[in-house]
């Protein structure tokens, strides 16, 4: 049964069927072949319940926030405010890229939005400053991926719905690892700049930095405010994660209006972009829920878990194998569909081995981040390349590599010290 299911999935995907169609067909075939009674009748009810799931509503609102965000002018001001602070550190603007991404990530739930927004502001400075293109561009692509690890996060919302875990706890768990990973990125750049000073560009004029630094601080207010709205409001206890997303969307709309960019065409294009992404994801989620229902009903999920456990491998070895599997799969598959398609099978295995689903959620999101910047299919690489508009694509592939290394190190740290992720959520639990 496991063999049939696995080869079916690979076969349907390799035929380049749309992911949602592949999952749905697989559910249908498995149900015809193994179920004692037809399971397809549940599809209508299942589709309806998924379509009006209150937690999932947060996802389209974050997607729309991402569509609107680069019109708000927030990132330009954030970038110019941060630049003077890193003017004396080897790697200068590259650290600015990473820090601006990390701060922006704390207001945005999407990696693409983060990379596109920071890229637009940063890339014109690359040529002016004489930076090494691969390292500079790689830092933007990698920094952008922080969007889904530092809360809020679209991926965490969908993971929470698929695994029936708490969005608030996942957000809390992603917080420290998110900023640690940003730190690791910066450390990577610092090391590169020390090792080969040429990579980080010539030294620039650093006179009169302090007035600039102080003057720029006021531009940190909008992102900080937005962060308080979309994340802070959850922990103060005035909003659920979905309500916080709604407040964030309205606040972003306000920022766009304040920037004088709120026009009908902007709004309509944002609607189109949001609907395209939302419906594409929701169709996959509906198909995945149906497939999951079939797999649980015919005992496939249990069979997979049992057979993995019966291998008798130590949990750590199994965990490493799963991580390696995702690193490879991530090179070829779009991240959200990869996440939705595999979570229902993999997470039961992880929890059966005694790991926390919250902790795995964080590792999983870091693996998704790696998938976003590993060629040939790495959406963030293409986003940054398209913002750049010229030059070889290989610059990005090479430049992203050291940051993939940093992600793998971060995963290692999380395996060795799970409390880095689990400490904040446990504080949350004891305080309530």
């Amino acid at each position: 049964m496991i063999g049939t299911a696995f080869s079916l999935l690979i076969g349907l995907m390799a035929l380049s069927l749309p992911v949602a169609a592949a999952l749905g067909l697989m559910g249908y075939i498995l149900s015809q072949k193994y179920a004692f009674f037809p399971l397809t009748g549940a599809l209508g009810e299942l589709a309806w319940n998924t379509s009006n799931d209150f937690i999932l509503i947060a996802a389209p609102m974050f997607i729309m926030m991402g569509e609107l965000m680069h019109r708000s002018g927030m990132s330009e001001r954030l970038f110019s405010a941060l630049a003077p602070w890193f003017a004396r550190i080897p790697g200068r603007l590259i650290h600015t890229n990473i820090t601006a991404s990390a701060i922006f990530a704390a207001t945005s739930g999407s990696s693409v939005a983060t990379a596109a927004t920071i890229g637009t502001v940063a890339i014109p400075n690359m040529e002016k400053g004489g930076y090494n293109p691969p390292l500079f561009l790689g830092s933007i692509a990698a920094g952008g991926t922080l969007g889904i690890l530092i809360p809020p996060s679209i991926n965490m919302i969908i993971y929470a719905v698929l695994t029936d875990t708490s969005v608030a706890k996942l957000y809390a768990a992603g917080f420290i690892p998110g900023f640690m990973l940003a730190g690791l990125f910066s450390l990577t750049v610092f090391a590169a700049a020390i090792w080969r000073p040429g990579l980080a560009g010539p030294k620039a004029d650093t006179a009169g930095l302090w007035p600039q630094r102080i003057a720029g601080l006021k531009h940190l207010v909008p992102p900080l405010g937005l962060f308080l709205i979309v994340v802070g409001s959850i922990y103060i206890g005035i909003a659920t994660p979905t309500e916080a997303a709604a407040l964030g969307l309205m606040a972003t709309l306000g920022l766009v209006a304040a920037n004088g960019q709120l026009t009908l065409p902007v709004l309509v294009r944002a609607f189109e972009g949001t609907v395209r992404t939302t419906c594409m994801i929701m169709l996959i989620i509906i198909a995945a829920f149906f497939l999951n229902f079939v797999m649980v009903s015919i005992g496939l999920v249990k069979a997979v878990t049992d057979s993995v456990l019966s291998l008798g491998l130590p949990p750590l070895a199994m965990l490493l194998a799963i991580i390696a599997f995702y690193l490879v799969l991530g090179c070829f598959m779009e991240t959200l569909s990869m996440m939705i398609a595999t979570t229902p099978v993999v997470v039961p295995v992880i929890t059966a081995m005694g790991y926390s689903p919250i902790w795995w959620g964080i590792i999983f999101v870091i693996l998704m981040e790696a998938a976003l910047i590993t060629p040939p299919v790495g959406l963030n690489l293409y986003v940054v390349q398209s913002v750049r508009g010229r030059g070889p694509f290989s610059d990005l592939c090479i430049g992203a590599l050291p940051f993939v290394g940093a992600m793998i190190i971060m995963i290692g740290i999380l395996i060795a010290f799970p409390d880095i992720a689990l400490w904040l959520p446990s504080m949350l639990q004891s305080s309530k």
Binding site: A14, S16, T40, L43, M61, V275, R276, E334, S386
Partner: protein
Amino acid sequence: MSTPDPLLPDEPWPQRISRIFAWLAGACILFGCGALISLDVVTRFVFKRGMIESFEVSGYMLAACIGLGLAFTVTSKSNIRIDILLDAFPYRLRAACDLLAAFALAMIAVALVWFAWKTLAQSWSMNARSTSIMQTPMVLPQGVWWIGLLWFAFMAVLLPLQAILRLLATDQRGFDKLIGSLRVTEEIEQAGIDLKAEPKPEAPQP
């Protein structure tokens, strides 16, 4: 790309209807979810009690968005496929894969609308209402959702049939435009990130 895109691009009427449905779907998210929930949170914060049943209504709005918006994913070719192998194939094989993919999606769409109909019909015959104080007749939100799904299924079936006609007329480009795999450049364009074209706001001088 120097002239700004018109709000409604020149396109056949099924595509145009799908696009307008997508606008409605987007409005559902912004006004029906974002604004409505925010209003509820604020009134709850100020007056200690919510004004509207945003919890329930926003769910219906998401369902309406999904129903109305799905057709647009067909016309804009947004349904993710793992097409990395496709580039290496000769044209005929690629076209066969494209057709197969489009028909697979059509099958799913038809199945979805069929089983959704059963759910709707059941709500109708049982006169089902939501369990909240609003006691919404379930036929209302499910009806909007279902009409969207019906249009989605119609488009998902129509496009591959049109594509076959174009194939018979040896209109390769027309075929690709209809159901060909989304190229990376197209994808980036769609992500709304064609930043070269749009006027950037002036970065303030520090």
